[in-house]
Symmetry: C2
Subunit: 312 residues, 2 copies
């Protein structure tokens, strides 16, 4: 039996790369996981986890010799780290290698929303440009006031890009950071009041659930646009939908949703939103780098070496 | 009769702003222009021009007292500046105020093309995400090699933004510029060979017609992507279409086209292109700034003052 379970929707390329280095057993579905017998479970020393389905105490207790859950992704909110720690199980993630991609998508959604590029593209493709003339005017973004909610590594990468667009950068984090003169707000509502564009770069999990509250959304105002590349849970999604529908805020660019991949159908009726399928890190280059870091963590554990990127 | 003709598709907001400061006669169509009688033409001292339809010697000769043609836009290739100079007519444009918007759209098309955001948006909106799972992987842009063809003010604004995406910047211009260590190529083909993403920021007009030649396009190679925010004429469009169809290059993001607003129908069959309706400067804020600069040039001429932004 294999000492490594690779659990989740691994692509063909990822499976090939995995098999070239290690000997994992691939588990694609929950039913396959449940079907493992006791001998198979006892052999498992490492799980390489991919996906957003919760993996907690109940799952961990099936594997008596499990030493590490190596998550594919920087956000490990699917994995119950507290339960892992209680059992002496280490958890690893894949930080940093995806920061650029996620920051790029944040900037891209910001531009695409404000410059109404989906609508403009349709204007070309459906013949409106030739028949009716110029598309409607849209909104300038460079020089605007922007806010970052959560100034971790990804937040910083977003802010560095925004600065090149001649924006005035504000941010909120648990504490003030070393920045090139950006404005710190201890209060998230004060941040929202100060800016037109609010980028959400919080970590996920219970502590940040609905951190972007109804009050924060209201403070953003009718020129306000929310860009979210973190987790759907970090925003009060119902309050945001109300604000988008009523015009209480101007728009949103969203890569993450509550209950994804199902999306609240109210989003689909809106024209002032850019909707992306949680593709922040979904480039060939970055997914290969994430998979490599995950495998390296698994291999380090099996060899008795220090883990590369432990989170507990 | 009015001393000012405002020729072209002015929006209602632009007309109101114009009338609040000056007393123009608005001419929306070529037929209206042709219908002006001799008395009306003799009264005209300034033309505020908007649009891409050629305005040359024939048109100028109808206005014996015309002193300035104030163009709406930085690109004045629609106006025959040589013919104007011969007649002692000054031409003005609206530089700088639109640079940020145009650079923003260039970056936006680059990101949208590489990250396949139009396809990803459809993946959410048509239910594919919920039914089929993750969208196909796409391409990382940060850290790539980028080239700017034409390092004028807009080219520089594009390059400054690209640098924040940790790219390696190369450029071609008539002469080497003062840059933060970017790589100059005297030969446009050499520039294309050196980079994956080629941004076209040339001035329009006969001198740059098909400057992005079949050879330049071939040198870009199968990972190559062309972003054009200049004029459709600066690229050998048929050669680019051939390369896009055959996979000789990877894609394009285009805001300008030969014969626009009609677009070669071959573009509409392609999935590897982002197509925008010449909306580089089409924000409320920037169009208002352009209109103001155009009016200020007209007013300066009528008052006998120095023009603000003359081009001849």
């Amino acid at each position: 039996m294999s000492a490594i379970l690779a659990v989740g929707p691994y692509t063909e390329a990822e499976r090939e790369a995995f098999k070239a280095e290690l000997q994992p057993t691939f588990i694609g579905t929950r039913a396959e996981l449940d079907a493992l017998d006791d001998t198979a479970c006892a052999a498992v020393r490492a799980i390489a986890y991919k996906g957003h389905r919760p993996f907690g105490a109940e799952e961990m207790d099936r594997f008596a010799n499990l030493g590490v859950v190596a998550n594919f992704g920087v956000g490990y909110d699917a994995i119950d780290v507290g339960a892992a720690s209680e059992r002496g199980i280490k958890v690893t993630n894949t930080p940093d290698v995806l920061n650029d991609d996620v920051a790029d998508l944040a900037i891209a959604m910001w531009l695409m929303q404000a410059r109404e590029m989906r609508q403009a593209e349709a204007w070309v493709r459906d013949g409106s440009w030739a028949e009716k003339g110029s598309a409607p005017l849209n909104r300038k973004v460079s020089g605007g006031t922007v806010g970052i909610m959560g100034m971790g590594r990804i937040g910083r990468d977003i802010a560095d890009r925004l600065a090149a667009f001649k924006t005035e950068v504000h941010y909120h984090a648990r504490s003030e950071k070393d920045t090139p003169g950006w404005t710190y707000h201890a209060d998230p509502v004060a941040l929202a009041q100060a800016v037109d564009y609010l980028f959400i770069a919080l970590v996920g999990g219970p502590e940040t659930e609905k951190y972007v509250s109804k009050e924060v959304i209201a403070a953003l105002g009718e020129r306000g646009v929310i860009i979210n590349i973190s987790r759907g849970t970090t925003i009060d999604e119902e309050a945001m939908l109300d604000a988008l529908e009523s015009g209480a805020i101007a728009g949103a660019g969203l890569d993450v949703f509550v209950g994804e991949p199902k999306v609240n159908p109210r989003f689909l009726k809106l024209d002032n939103v850019v909707l992306q399928p949680h593709q922040g890190s979904a480039t060939h280059e970055t997914r290969a780098a994430m998979a490599k870091l995950q495998r390296d963590n698994v291999a380090a554990h099996l060899a008795g070496n220090d883990l590369l990127t432990p989170v507990n």
